[in-house]
Symmetry: D2
Subunit: 424 residues, 4 copies
């Protein structure tokens, strides 16, 4: 773990500048009628879950280039997640992936407590074959033609719930890769019926207080059709399942040009928005670091969420879901958590009264300018002050680098193999 003394020393070196920036911003916001203290409290209240698998280096079908000191198992991953939360104070929970993170629940709970994090939504996996599953998911899982494969996939989801229940989780995210690579490979209607039927079995197994999230993805790993390809199908699924079923929106899982914030608005209207997988992308499901490609889009999503605060029944699960191919995953996850938090705080300072007035008057120019005025406000001092006051680092990345954490774990974690991607 990161030494608290080091964090304090690093913070001390940056505190004067931060206070100057914070005070100046406070004065500026005051002139705009905004209370910086209230924003700081919102920043402190913010949290986004970290994906356990995100602590390892990702790759593509072409190759994976491992990094130094990659985590060997869920306990190493929890160590890394603990570092991320300690420095950012913005990632209080970890989202697990079964079977990748299978271990003795009691040991996981103890480790989590030791590193200061809890557990978020559980993720099942039927897009890969499991060593201990007799049947293959090559031709599908929950929507497979054969009942035996579907039963195996259902059973895996129920087991994932069971594990989660022991860890204090209360939600299951279901994303499947089921689909086809050829027109005609499957009857799309009956394939969807089989999927719904399987989901209903899983739904029955939800413990009291649990929710199930349906996650759509336009394509990949299936390249002609995907069973849950868009929010429309995800909505139909959640509608057929019932109250506990909600839709999860991954920012990278849409067709080109699609207006994602509008989908957010529609799912809120339908009472079916359940949460997010945050990341950023330029071409496909690139799984790039949140806020690095189109930060305004991230802001516009948060603008919808802040606008909808107070909607009855709206209770969102936020998680990062990225692939870190060329960076230290801990650094990327820290920066991403901060970028998501940034968009949230920026959206929180939109002058909603003025905005409503401009909308009433069809004053598109000033309405748009109102959003941009919030977006271009540099809220970094608010985020940094929130971190400082909560015990985190003013500058998480530089503090992390100063700690020598990566080099230290690389001493005990052996170098992982590269992997050849999926193409050979």
């Amino acid at each position: 773990m990161i030494d608290k003394g080091l964090v304090a020393a690093e913070n001390t070196s940056r505190e004067a500048a931060l206070r100057a920036d914070y005070d100046a911003l406070g004065a500026h916001l005051d002139r705009r009628g905004i209370d910086i203290g209230a924003l700081k409290e919102r920043a402190k209240g913010f949290g986004v879950a970290v994906p356990s698998w995100g602590t390892g280096t990702g790759g593509t079908r072409f190759a994976r280039f491992p990094g130094e000191g990659e985590p060997r198992d869920i306990f190493d991953k929890l160590d890394d997640c603990g570092v991320i939360h300690a420095l950012t104070q913005a990632t209080p929970r970890v989202s697990l992936h079964i079977p990748w993170d299978k271990a003795e629940p009691a040991d996981m709970l103890a480790k989590a407590e030791a590193v200061g994090v809890g557990f978020d939504a559980m993720n099942s996996n039927t897009f890969q074959d499991h060593a201990d599953h007799p049947l293959s998911y090559k031709y599908g899982s929950l929507s497979h033609m054969e009942a035996a494969v579907r039963a195996q996939a259902i059973e895996h989801n129920l087991e994932t719930i069971e594990i989660g229940a022991k860890l204090g989780s209360s939600a299951l995210t279901v994303w499947i890769g089921d689909g086809t690579n050829f027109p005609g490979q499957s009857n799309m209607g009956r394939q969807f019926e089989r999927y719904l039927s399987s989901m209903k079995e899983i739904y029955k197994g939800l413990p009291e207080g649990w929710r199930i999230f349906s996650e759509h993805k336009i394509y990949e790993p299936a390249f002609y059709s995907t069973v849950v390809q868009d929010w429309g199908t995800s909505l139909m699924t959640a509608q057929e399942l019932g109250e506990k079923a909600k839709c999860l929106v991954d920012l990278g899982h849409h067709a080109p040009n699609v207006n994602i914030e509008m989908i957010v608005s529609r799912l809120i209207h339908a009472g079916k928005l359940g949460g997010f997988h945050f990341n950023d992308s330029k071409y496909g499901d690139d799984d790039l670091d949140s806020g690095t490609i189109d930060p305004y889009r991230l802001f516009l999503v948060w603008n919808e969420l802040v606008d909808a605060e107070g909607t009855p029944g709206l209770d969102l699960a936020h998680m990062i879901d990225q692939s870190h191919n060329v960076t230290d995953p801990i650094e990327s996850l820290m920066i991403s958590a901060c970028e998501i938090q940034r968009a949230y705080v920026q959206a929180s300072l939109v002058d909603r009264g003025a905005l409503a007035g401009f909308q009433q008057d069809n004053d598109a120019l000033m309405a748009s300018a109102t959003l941009r005025a919030a977006f271009r406000t540099d809220v970094e001092p608010i985020l940094a002050m929130a971190r400082l006051e909560a015990g985190g680092a003013i500058d998480p990345v530089q503090t992390y680098r100063a700690s020598g954490y990566r080099a230290a774990v690389a001493q005990v974690r052996p170098k992982s193999t590269g992997g050849g991607g999926g193409i050979v």
Copy 2:
């Protein structure tokens, strides 16, 4: 109208070749266990509606280049539609657009009867200002911020229904251009609520036996957000309205890469598919001639429809909706009707028993090959024979050209002005 003697003479010159092709195809299909006669009967039973406005030359925001002898009013348009149906025997109905086609209903009925066509779904128009409407749709219509504008738009839709009722139509297609050009211009959630509220008023006005079609479009004329932007929103709309509300799929109104045949399958599952606007496109909502850019996509859509034949409650309205910018609209509409009919017949000869078997065996290669085997079968002799036997032309375009129809109407229809598009 086209002289029947001319049609007969043109057909005579092509009949021997057609019979040779038809017999050869019949023998070939017989070897595949397919009865060509049954396919021919299906071809004869096929019909797609022609859009009245499609008989004029279309344009873009940059310019419109008028053609010769463009129709002056709905009566000229009905003449043109009569020609299209006379030669193709595949377009028995015309879809009207109000206010463009406003006229005395009795006169319209008489003209329609004279030219041998009936009336299909009615289309309302609140994406343009009307000369006799006091309020502007610049900032929306059914979802407008102001109740008075919404009321005007609702009233227009009710009037459109009223006109349609007098003409024997039994469906209203609602497509609106409402949306925004700037993030923040409108609150997307409340805008949708206003839209739904307006649609409920129109729904109440549906006569017995009528249906209302909700048509989505990803963008244009609104460029940042569109109220009914995709099939998910269209589905929500149809669900909230009730039984008589269905979704209409326009082939050009989707985000890039979207799998349209899958949307068709999903809407069938939901019991909400109402019909189609056929066209083709390469980039956006290009409104190109059906089947000219990606004929296999058209086939795959029909493959879903033929597969779903017999689904309880499935009763589809098919219409062409294209913009003819560089061709004679009559020729484009004739060719398009034939291309849509072609895809329908090709989809009808898919060996569905074999396909189901391959799907059962996860034999993706042969399942896909089964579709392609149907698609690559040249069914032109079936289409031509169906036309010949029904009184149409073996070759509609050449027969039309031989008739001199365009030159004749150009004598009485004055040259229309070009128009400058929307940019100046």
Copy 3:
């Protein structure tokens, strides 16, 4: 014109807050080792041309909804352009469109001088038919099958140069709508050869010191193929023409997902970048206001340009090219000029030394963070102070609204007709 006293009064009401913000930003930048004064001077030196046609309300093929007091002719447009420059001090030149802006050159020069603007690149128009041109461009212009049409289009371009020469312009931008709507409509290779041949004729007519800009556009108004569809074809064109030919990049003229800043980089490498048409877009060539949809993309383009400063031969022409459908065009153009200027100033404060170091070390995370640190800096005080010192308005839009300019011109400029778009 806007009364100077009003501007002064408006500025006075905002000056104290501005000075406070400016000083705080100056102190902050000083801590980052950046001289705010130097940035302010760069802001003052910035200029982007305004398109004369942008002062009118735009539209789509569906409709055009006119605004109040739209300019009747080039003299009204120059009045509007003068207002834009007076308040923003960022738009010193106007780009003309022939034949729309045809008038007596001496009168135009006098008017321009009176309103305080000059003339930028000239734009020819062969995507519409001209009242005084005997031949139609329905099937193309510079690439038309018939030599007579090509000759007419060439002659029009030469005339446009001639007009520009009298006005002090020194560049011609050529954008044509030539292309096809059907596969097979034209032989794409020979069509391109005809285009090149025509362009060579125009190139020969360039006066001493002039340049010609080739502008590409992926689609619209042609919907299957476009003669100059992408930067590759534009580059080939500029290469074949010679030294005076450069490529102009319009931000909205690309396929979905394309990395535009990379195209900028490549054209700089090739020595062929000539300038920009600024706007923003979400779906197609939406022509939305600059910086309103993806401001980070605009920043990344400017990041390339600032990085390339000092490249021998690099001399860029910057112009706004937008369609204002739902706003007051003067307001949109003022805001857009400021957003483009903002991105330029943000790009100017990238720590390029640090960036180069991170790039050298393959430190992707910190390299990316370096760009974002510049982007998120709120440079509004720099822009506003630059305007104030140059005689413009601290807040151009509010000052403009306070002036009552639009209402005043609406008194003398009659209401324009809506136009029905291209679809009817």
Copy 4:
């Protein structure tokens, strides 16, 4: 290998039906003035190279699901390629990938001769780390920041040429994954310069009579920018390198909606078209089987190539490049070779005289109909007869299945491991 007696027996069972279909098609084409015999000869002359790696099962970053009897090495792969050519008579050459296919050249030549195939273009690989290369390509190869990595990558390309020279190959295809995942990660201009510099070193090493192909790809494995991202950059590369450098077009490597046949036309104009990697795709670089998603697009590409026959210097290398994730790779490659050949033969029966006439008259409708008339002609009898006469199988897939080849090789080739994709 496949027993010739089996092939003969399979053919015998299908020959009567084929001859009936062939004769009927011959009679039909004769009525259209087309000689079926000439088309059959063109079909026989057609050949497309098979990628050695395509004989293995592909995968995605999520998973790879191995098939039965996957080839262990280049000798197994050559066996599979021999089967493909024996049955289709359309794939006379194999394209190799180094280091995957490294072996003793003499042994490879002997094996190739034994199975009846030759060697096509060589492919180098610097998108993965090599076991025997000391430096990693994680941050690039030919464009890497460090000279040592670039030198290693250059040396690998030179070695690939050397191997190819011993095998009778005469071309090197260079595709690199170099690019970035973050704005700012690399200076895009200098990165391109380093790439060009490396390519010049490789170019110098080309033996007499060799060519080098530059292959572009819009994204993946790099997700923000790719050094050779489009045909414009590929063209610039080929121009800077010299005469022996050409551009290779992979059908799946383009932005959404891009008109690929137009790129083909432009590269022919520039004298820089070198060849193709055939496949099909719906969303991104899906690497689906050729002709299974958009067969008309494949036809339109071939339409350009057939139209350009006889262009001085045009000498194209055609190769399949697909990922077979859910099918038997041998079956997919056979079907794909036939689909590519089908498009070639269909393009060969376009009535080019009539087409030119329609183009001359701006008769877009008939020009387009002329292409479609060729496309919809079912040329299967021509392809099958060409195969039969050349010693292949009338029905390659059914003959292959009847042979039991896969089961037989699965006896000697051990089951390969699944691999976990790149994400863990």
